[in-house]
């Protein structure tokens, strides 16, 4: 039961790009991008975040990362409304660096606390 990741961003491209970058280092981890609004604008989309959260929740828990403060708030609302198999946390971390570190930790079997810690302690690229 690996931990899943959700990338919450104002930009669809940004979320997808972060997901593909992290996926490369963690081929078996479920990583869902949730970026942009339903009509293709820059902004966050609560329903998209909830759907992404459901998609990657396999019981091992889900860690959500975000770009700006409003994405953080939408992610927290999605977590509060989530009644899935595992726990879900929004972590405070640099988005790109945190996502890669979290994905690598999840790939190696870390639990949700380990994955969250990997994300939040990710500094700049080594």
């Amino acid at each position: 039961m690996t931990v899943g990741l959700v990338i919450v961003s104002h930009s669809a491209k940004l979320a997808e790009g972060v997901a593909e970058l992290a996926q490369q280092m963690a081929p078996e981890v479920l990583i869902a991008p949730a970026g942009g609004t339903a009509d293709g604008e820059l902004g966050t989309d609560y329903d998209r975040v909830c759907a992404a959260l459901d998609r990657v929740d396999r019981g091992g828990g889900v860690v959500l990362l975000y770009d700006l403060g409003s994405a953080q708030m939408i992610a927290e609302l999605a977590v509060e409304g989530h009644s899935g198999a595992g726990e879900a946390f929004v972590v405070e971390a640099p988005l790109v660096e945190g996502a890669v570190a979290a994905a690598v930790a999840a790939q190696s079997g870390a639990d949700i606390d380990g994955v969250s810690r990997a994300a939040s302690s990710a500094a700049e690229a080594p």
Partner: protein, 209 residues
């Protein structure tokens, strides 16, 4: 006069009208210290609230507030979505089970809304956000809680307008404007302005009855 489901629905329609009317103004305020979308965000959200009212009829003030909350959370797309969404959600919880709201209930709902915004966004008074409007509005509403709904909301709206003005000299410490640091001073915060407009609209709706 108390606030019934019917009067609250009418007041919410009024909010949508005010937001549409001030859409450009709010966009311009957000352009100066943000990303120029606040008016569009709120207008998208309240337009969706009107659509939701076309297809469903809330059966209590609390249900009306909850409908606004979930719609704003889903549709706004910016920080004001989760913030105002949480505000309306907490107000819905605070008024649950009441078919009519008196002045005290309205004041309590406003207090719950403020607490929700603070819990969600972690802003304090002085951070140049909608909290600078809601906090004095709640204080004024609480002091007037023994009076009519119209009086409570009128007191809240006046305090809100002063609160909005108070954001002009402030340096933003929360939200996008905080990226600007000192350069955010000298501008009215868009979320503060819209929150004051919403409260004035509610007061007008209550006063007109």
């Amino acid at each position: 006069m108390t606030c019934t489901t019917e009067t609250l629905v009418a007041a919410v329609r009024g909010l949508a009208g005010v937001v549409a009317e001030h859409r450009t103004e709010l966009i311009d305020l957000d352009r100066a210290i943000g990303d120029a979308d606040h008016g569009e965000n709120l207008n998208r959200g309240f337009t969706a609230v009107l659509s939701a009212l076309d297809s469903s009829t809330p059966d209590s003030p609390s249900a009306m507030l909850k409908l606004v909350a979930t719609t704003l959370i889903s549709k706004v797309g910016g920080a004001s979505g989760p913030l105002l969404g949480t505000a309306f959600l907490r107000a819905a919880t605070a008024t649950a089970g009441q078919s009519e709201l008196d002045g005290a209930a309205v004041a309590a709902a406003l207090k719950a809304a403020l607490d929700g915004v603070v819990a969600r966004g972690k802003a304090e008074v002085g951070d140049k956000t909608m909290v600078d409007v809601l906090a004095p509005a709640v204080q004024a509403a609480t002091e007037a809680a023994g009076e009519s709904v119209a009086a409570v909301l009128a007191a809240a709206a006046s305090a809100a307008e002063q609160g909005a003005e108070s954001t002009i000299p402030l340096v933003a410490r929360k939200g996008r404007a905080s990226y600007l640091g000192e350069r955010s001073a000298g501008h009215l915060d868009p979320g503060a302005r819209s929150t004051a407009l919403l409260l004035r609209s509610l007061a007008n709706s209550a006063g007109a009855r």
